[in-house]
Amino acid sequence: MELENRRSPDDHLTDDALFALALPAAGVPEVLPAHLLECPQCSRALADWKNAVRDLADADEDVLEKRTGEEWSAVEDSTLSAIRREGTPGRGRVRTLRWALPVAASLLVFALLVSGRPDSARVSEPSDDTAGLSAQDKADDALLRDVDRLASGDESSGGWGALAPDPGIPDPPQGEGRS
């Protein structure tokens, strides 16, 4: 803060200068300007500022000192009760871990589920190409594959009897085999 030592006696200290003297920004008292020695007006104004600061600090003390000894004891007892409810000291980390472990476990399970989802989706849906096909189309495809296989002489999978049912014909009743 600029201190105004070069002032004439009639050139009074500004509010800024008074503020800087009453509440020094650097936290250490500023050098008092010589003008204060000559000017009772500025000297009084600085006293106003300092009084205001001191009064503000003391006002807090007043509020606290209104509390009686019994009231303070009751507040302290309340703190001690809260502490007794806590149990043994030094359990801050245990308390934190008690919360952290389930949270970490939940996150791990979630991460596994999310990362496993595409695999399971692949298992349940063998071909994305058939995703848009109707059941009728899929049955047609299966029948055509079987016919193609048998036409090429491959009867290893049960021969004609294992043909996929004709999609146009309803399933025969139970116990009635194909001939």
């Binding site: 800087a20 650097a26 106003d48 503000l56 807090d60 000291p89």
Partner: protein, 199 residues
Amino acid sequence: MIPRETDPGVDEALLIEEIRAGNTQGFEYFVRQYQRKITRVAYRLLRDMGEADCAAQESFLRAWQNLNDFREGSTFETWLTRICINWCKDRLKRRRLVLYFHQTADARDDETGPRDTALDPDPSPERRAMSREIRERLRDAIETLSPRQKTVFTLKHFEELSIPEIAELTGLDTGTVKSHLFRAAHKIRERLRDLRRKA
């Protein structure tokens, strides 16, 4: 100002060791010794007696829960005050958020009473009014500081702590404390710029 006297007959470090070892009743000494001091620090920052009580109790609870983290390099009082200041700073931050969203200032007690008891020896009503105006404006300006600035400013000018003491309590280095102090003073001065001295 924070009185730093402790009971000379009690070795606090030893007492903490005993508490850790199972003599939990020993913690009562700390509560009886420091509750008022801690409440005052909290009140300076929060300016609400209910919240100050809450801050003090929470500080003791945190100290209790984290007693194993207490290191002998520091005193219990300093450690406890630091816990309390951190709690208050969090509280002030939350309060500012609430203010931001609701755009309503906390109802401040602008009661007269003890605060009117001016220390000014001059009884002139004009000067008394001036001093009161400065005080009120100053109080309002302090409320506009950030939690950290307010903490540093309050500890310096109202608790009259030295900059190294503030640094220890807030966990900041002394340069940062000075910087916050400077910014706080600058901000308050800006807020009081329109205050004209009544000669």
